[in-house]
Symmetry: C2
Subunit: 252 residues, 2 copies
């Protein structure tokens, strides 16, 4: 058996999320079916770095699996890509230590969130951005982003349904870039882990701060109250991209 | 009655083309339904500058119609956009002379064709480009594009099914731009008119020339032979955009 680490991109539009579900088209399901075919096994199991919801995209999702036999990374990449639908692209393949696990070995993740500005939805961006047609003061958003950096209890920013009880996470970087040419804001969040829907709730709250509907430093209050009802919004799945998953180099 | 000229963008992916067809979702059908609703009429007719096929996009399609009553252009724009699905955006509304007709008044059109390079299909471009994974010599393509400019008989480049017998058209500009950052080629064609599938057949032929499978000056031979069988390829609909429709200023 050889352990593989595979990095992939996908357009989440036509998937019912990453995680395998009966009778649904999922990223995990499509890749497992390809590997079952390659190995002539009835089923095949892969581990992902984490789930992404329906409509959420990935620029650098990571999966790992144990493969019976040993294919050179370039051959594995070509074989997998030949079996992928057009909305998944295998970007990179590496042979890693047997102990490598896409989820348990991960030390951090980086998410991108694209917000399309402008009064009306750009038809070419509707599946790839969240649309925010209202006034935004980016200076206020930058003040709020500074409050996000550090170690905080993100209970107010976790959708119900998660089974995780420890909701303390560390954000290393939280930035916004104005892409004037494309009439977009691009948020990036780099942290040691993210709760269910956390990035989308953070973005919705940041947009409310930018619009003046919340005080600039409302994150400080929201960390303290630990109440999801206080941070109600969730930005659309279509704007969210899992950009990078980070691993310690010595795991690979 | 007031005559309106309306410019719009659409993502052609989920439309069965521009032209209305029974039991199909079409751009014309969606807009006519909106105007029927606005005017409380059972049906409403609009004229488009021309058809686009299923999967073909528009950055600046133009339609015209006679509206009972008179709405200020900004009000018409807001009213129409409020009734549009997310894959159509109304960009501009103008009140024009009663004689203005989106098709008959048009003096020229500009098309964009985006070709994604690279070995594998980028999941985020599959609906918005044609993919060409093979070697291309852009210098050869530029030589061929120079042959296209001018007045020629495009019989070799017209898909069957058209009813038009005069296949002489004038191309004013035919260019290619290398977008290295996005790993794309972008073709633009500006001419006085285009036959059915003509741009997609031209692009397929240009890529064959760039790949070395046809001589650099093969367009000169193809103009002379007037035989569609000699220019067999048709580039995918997903890469094609109707970019601009040109009208004489005094029509408006």
């Amino acid at each position: 058996m050889t352990q593989y680490k595979v990095t992939l991109a996908y357009d989440g539009t036509n998937f019912a999320g990453y995680q395998v579900q009966p009778h649904q088209r999922t990223v995990q399901g499509v890749i497992q079916a390809a590997l079952a075919k390659m190995t002539k096994q009835p089923t095949f199991h892969i581990d992902g770095s984490g789930r992404t919801d329906s409509g959420v995209h990935a620029l650098g999702q990571v999966i790992s699996f144990a493969y019976p036999g040993r294919l050179a990374p370039a051959s594995m990449l070509a074989a997998l890509n030949s079996l992928m639908p057009l909305d998944i692209e295998i970007l990179d393949v590496a042979i890693v230590a047997d102990s490598f696990h896409a989820r348990y070995s991960a030390r951090g993740k980086r998410y991108l969130y694209r917000v399309a500005l402008g009064k009306y939805t750009d038809p070419f961006k509707r599946l790839y951005t969240g649309h925010y047609p209202y006034r935004l003061d980016v200076a206020r958003i930058r003040v709020a982003l500074a409050d996000l950096v550090g170690t905080h209890d993100f209970t107010s920013f976790a959708a119900s349904g998660g089974v995780i009880t420890d909701k303390v996470r560390t954000i290393y970087e939280a930035t916004v870039t104005e892409d004037a040419a494309n009439h977009e804001l691009r948020f990036e969040f780099y942290g040691n882990g993210f709760l269910y829907n956390m990035v989308r709730i953070l973005v919705a709250t940041l947009l409310e701060i930018g619009n003046g509907r919340r005080p600039e430093h409302d994150f400080l209050r929201l960390f303290a109250v630990k109440d999801r009802q206080q941070a109600r919004g969730t930005a659309p799945a279509s704007g969210l991209y899992l950009k990078t998953v980070y691993y310690p180099e010595d795991d690979e």
